[in-house]
Symmetry: C2
Subunit: 128 residues, 2 copies
């Protein structure tokens, strides 16, 4: 299904999202979200553009770089686009860490907005 | 948002999915999917219950065990439930491997069916 329109839209979103995250003011990323979007960041939930912008702006690092390992895209029966990203990130002087992130995009007002975002670092529970 | 109804439905699905995957005939898992569900398994796309059942049945191991590290749930504006699972799996005598998997559930015919499933092993590209 390579080359489908939803895949191209998804790839464009992923490129824009991490480019803005790594290279510009993280507050501006909020413009990629729908007004009532949901973000779950390491298990904590945030709803709405402002809450999401504040959360992203509050993350405790100055420099960050994401490197994408894999990205998958699917259309949904409600005409949304489901995206799963797997990669590594490097924050400040910390060692690289795996992460995975899911986005859902919906067509709104002539463009595509992110309605759902779930982020996790790839750190397993330590067995006790 | 713990204890929300969509979270409980999501948790029930995750428990049933991996229980069936690990302990019963994998062909039976197809009953958890909607008729036109999409599965993307390590980058390969399959659509429909039969194609998904055949893919899952063809996986080249006899014994498998999934251990969930994290599971996140979100409601969507189209009344679906988005699920992101992160964990480890052990297949036959192979060493444990990380995996992550996304499901989307939709209410259909009085129950909840999986309309979207994206699976990836947690293996990064090897830099060249």
């Amino acid at each position: 299904m390579a080359g489908e329109i939803w895949q191209k839209i998804g790839e464009g979103f992923v490129q824009e999202y991490y480019n803005q995250f790594d290279n510009t003011n993280r507050m501006a990323i909020a413009n990629l979200y729908s007004p009532n979007a949901c973000l779950t960041w390491e298990g904590s939930a945030f709803q709405g553009k402002e809450a999401i912008a504040n959360k992203l702006a509050s993350l405790p690092f100055k420099m960050i770089k994401h490197i994408i390992t894999k990205q998958d895209f699917q259309p949904t029966i409600d005409s949304c686009i489901l995206i799963m990203v797997f990669g590594q990130l490097k924050a400040d002087d910390d060692p690289p860490m795996a992460f995975h992130q899911v986005f859902m995009l919906k067509s709104q007002n002539g463009g595509w907005a992110c309605t759902n975002d779930v982020f996790r670092l790839g750190v397993h529970n330590i067995p006790v």
